[in-house]
């Protein structure tokens, strides 16, 4: 089974690791550049985007993370993970995000999302969640809430504003593992 890294600077990396292990993957927590070596795929979890941004900078993780994605390895970003991938942060995903777009925690919610091709209905948990305010032509919008994109895909990068990992959803992780197995380091999609 593939070896998947979960960025573990801060956030719900353990919830992602549990889903991955449940699907039979090997998991490695990533806290420094050396931890990226030999990975078949990567998850950037939810958490505090400010904390994560500072941590990526402190650890010198931006360049090696970009190199991993450039080598064709699939990436899944959830919530703060989507923000990390956007134009203003790692610049790997051609989208602009608005942080905390739905409001403070009392506005956080869960909802069923229709995502054909990714398991049909997906239960999404939105915690102080962002949404996408703008995106390039190469970005496919997979789900929206009130006309705001909350799930997007660009090649081997899948990014969502919500948390499938805290709702027992596995279809997005299955997508990642399929890609991780099929790419073997080659660029696809």
């Amino acid at each position: 089974m593939p070896l998947v890294g979960v960025l573990a600077i801060q956030g719900d990396f353990q919830a992602h690791a549990e889903v991955l292990r449940g699907l039979g993957a090997e998991v490695r927590e990533v806290r420094a550049p050396g931890h990226l070596e030999g990975l078949d795929g990567l998850i950037i979890p939810g958490g505090e985007s400010t904390t994560m941004t500072l941590g990526i900078e402190r650890e010198g993780l931006a360049a090696p993370l970009r190199a991993l994605v450039a080598s064709g390895k699939p990436v899944l970003g959830t919530c703060a993970g989507m923000i990390m991938l956007d134009r203003l942060h790692l610049g790997l995903l051609d989208v602009t995000c608005e942080r905390n777009a739905f409001g403070r925690q009392v506005r956080s919610f869960e909802a069923d999302l229709d995502m054909p091709g990714l398991g049909g209905t997906v239960r999404g948990v939105f915690i102080r969640a962002p949404w996408v305010t703008g995106h390039g032509e190469g970005v496919e919008v997979l789900a929206q809430i009130e006309d705001h994109p909350v799930a997007v895909r660009q090649g081997n990068i899948l990014a969502v504003a919500f948390h499938p990992e805290t709702a027992g959803e596995t279809s997005l992780h299955e997508w990642l593992l399929e890609r991780a197995q099929s790419t073997n380091g080659r660029q696809t999609g």
Partner: protein, 298 residues
């Protein structure tokens, strides 16, 4: 298809605690301190009138912060803002919810408002974090709707010894539950004075059903890493940041040590040249005065 939104579910509340994991939550009393905490990498801030060390020094009744103070701090940062309500003071909690704080801490650091009842936390949309000195206390708070637990320690002392005692107690009790058979678990629930259903869940999973942080006495990077090694999933640092000689550096160093809690070389690097940490207090000196905050709540 337009999605139906369900707000305030337990999954949404406990999910917020999940997002704080591996992070440091810092007490702040001004907007400027909040900005320093955010710039250092805090996962959230706790908005207060005074840090626990000053509450101790001031004496008298400690209450919820002034709404203006909470709002100033909310406007200063984009990370989550928590605030404390007195134990049992559900109106203070309602006020904090109306202010849209991201988490309410029903806290022994403030003067308790009710000698018999904690807040019914199920009645709220905002999530709650509560303190605990042992497993039974943690499970009673969870049964009342707490979405997150913090081991209490002894706030405002800069002395980690009580935090260690409480975290070890909770960990040991969880490990013991995992060795019991079904009827023994039922007996254990009685001893713990906690609902059987939650006790069964803890026995089966070997962990609390919500995120557990540590609090009360953490004063340097090694203290934070120690609590992580003992099973905390993140730390609250109260007086330890802004009572230190150099709050910016102490804050960044504690954040770094909390991420790299298993890497002694990284903790060593983070700990260099930080200036003086907050002065600590011997617990026995407080005990003699009958001044332990951890004994508030039950």
């Amino acid at each position: 298809m337009e999605a139906v939104r369900e707000e305030g579910t337990f999954r949404v509340k406990s999910g917020h605690a999940e997002m704080l994991k591996g992070g440091v939550i810092m007490d702040v009393v001004t907007a400027e301190q909040a900005r320093i905490a955010e710039a250092a990498g805090a996962a959230a801030v706790m908005a207060l009138e005074r840090v626990p060390a000053d509450i101790r020094a001031a004496g008298g009744v400690a209450r919820m912060a002034d709404p203006t103070k909470v709002e100033e701090i909310q406007q200063a940062v984009t990370i989550p803002v928590m605030a404390k309500a007195r134990i049992g003071h559900f109106v203070e909690a309602e006020v904090l919810q109306a202010l849209e704080v991201d988490f309410v801490d029903e806290s022994e650091v403030l003067t308790p408002a009710d000698q018999a009842h904690h807040i019914d936390k199920w009645a709220f949309t905002v999530p709650f974090v509560c303190g605990a000195t042992d497993l039974g206390e943690a499970l009673r708070r969870i049964s009342e709707g707490a979405a997150m637990i913090r081991s209490k320690g002894e706030a405002g002392t800069g002395n980690v010894v009580e935090a260690v005692t409480h975290m070890r107690a909770i960990g040991a009790e969880i490990r013991r539950l995992a060795t019991l058979d079904g009827s023994e678990v039922a007996a254990a629930a009685k001893e713990l004075r906690a609902p059987l259903e939650i006790v069964r869940e803890v026995a089966a999973n070997g962990k609390l059903p919500v995120v557990m942080f540590s609090a009360g006495g953490i004063a340097n990077p090694s203290d934070a890493a120690l609590m992580m090694r003992l099973g905390a999933e993140g730390v609250f640092v109260g007086s330890g940041i802004f009572k230190a000689e150099d709050p910016e550096r102490m804050a960044s160093a504690v954040v770094e040590a909390t991420t790299h809690f298993e890497d002694a070389a990284r903790i060593a690097a983070a700990s260099r040249d930080l200036g003086a940490p907050m002065p600590g207090t011997e617990i026995s000196a407080l005990e003699a005065e009958g001044g332990l905050l951890q004994n508030r709540g039950w």
